[in-house]
Amino acid sequence: MNYAFWIISAITLLGAFLAVTLRNLVHCVLSLILFFLGVAAHYFLLRADFLGAVQILIYIGAVAVLILFAIMLTRNVTGTEGPREVFGMKWWSGGVIAAAVAAFVLQAIKADSVTAATSTTQANSSVAEIGKALVADWVVPFEAMAVLLTAALIGAVVIALEEVMRRR
């Protein structure tokens, strides 16, 4: 169990790091997909099977594809930006800030007593339980979610339609 955690973590980290640093956009997307896989693996490791499946379905299935589409639409498929262009103005400041944030949060984790407690019993959840919970005490967020998604759908349709209207 311990080794799996470290391997998957490494893959996830690599995916994330590459996704952010590569020049070629498509490569970035691919590393992003790798990152999503790593995370899904972690979910399975943590016995959150349903979540892992959902993660794969939504993120890899939908989001990654969506980004690909976006890249194609914005024409510079090859991602041939120069290094300067890639990292924008004062690029180094972002890294420094991110490092500072990470450092402090890690510091907080080390100091905090909760993280030390390793629970002996590992929780696991079945899809039935999740389904019952979704419909029972989480029904309001569930419905709200439905509304949100439809709104996003409509939004997308509008933007698309606006495009058609203007051309004609």
Binding site: N2, V39, H42, V86, A102, A117, T118, S119, M145, L148
Partner: protein
């Protein structure tokens, strides 16, 4: 040594930091969106870890995670739609050029 909650927290923090660094440094709006997605996943991972290590008795954390995932999906969709709209206007997705909302 077995894996504890701390490990997962550390992992998600590092992922979050990487996502943040990406968002801050990359000039391409799409990459920025991808970085934000990374940060999202880091957060959700964190949630699941909390759930997993029985910090809270109920399923709340996982429920959270599920909803977070869906929201993240919707959010990225909208984000990309915006980027495309801006692209159509500016003919470029360079974040630095998008200064219309100057103070």
């Amino acid at each position: 040594m077995n894996i504890t909650l701390g490990h997962y927290l550390a992992l998600s923090t590092i992922l979050f930091a990487v996502g943040l660094a990406g968002a801050l440094t990359r000039r391409n709006a799409i990459i920025v969106l991808m970085a934000i997605e990374i940060m999202f996943n880091a957060a959700i991972l964190n949630l699941v870890a909390f759930w997993h290590f029985k910090v809270f008795a109920t399923l709340t954390a996982q429920m959270f995670a599920i909803f977070a995932v869906t929201i993240a999906a919707a959010e990225s969709a909208v984000g990309l739609a915006l980027v495309i709209a801006i692209y159509r206007h500016y003919r470029s997705v360079d974040v630095d050029e998008m200064k219309a909302l100057k103070g």
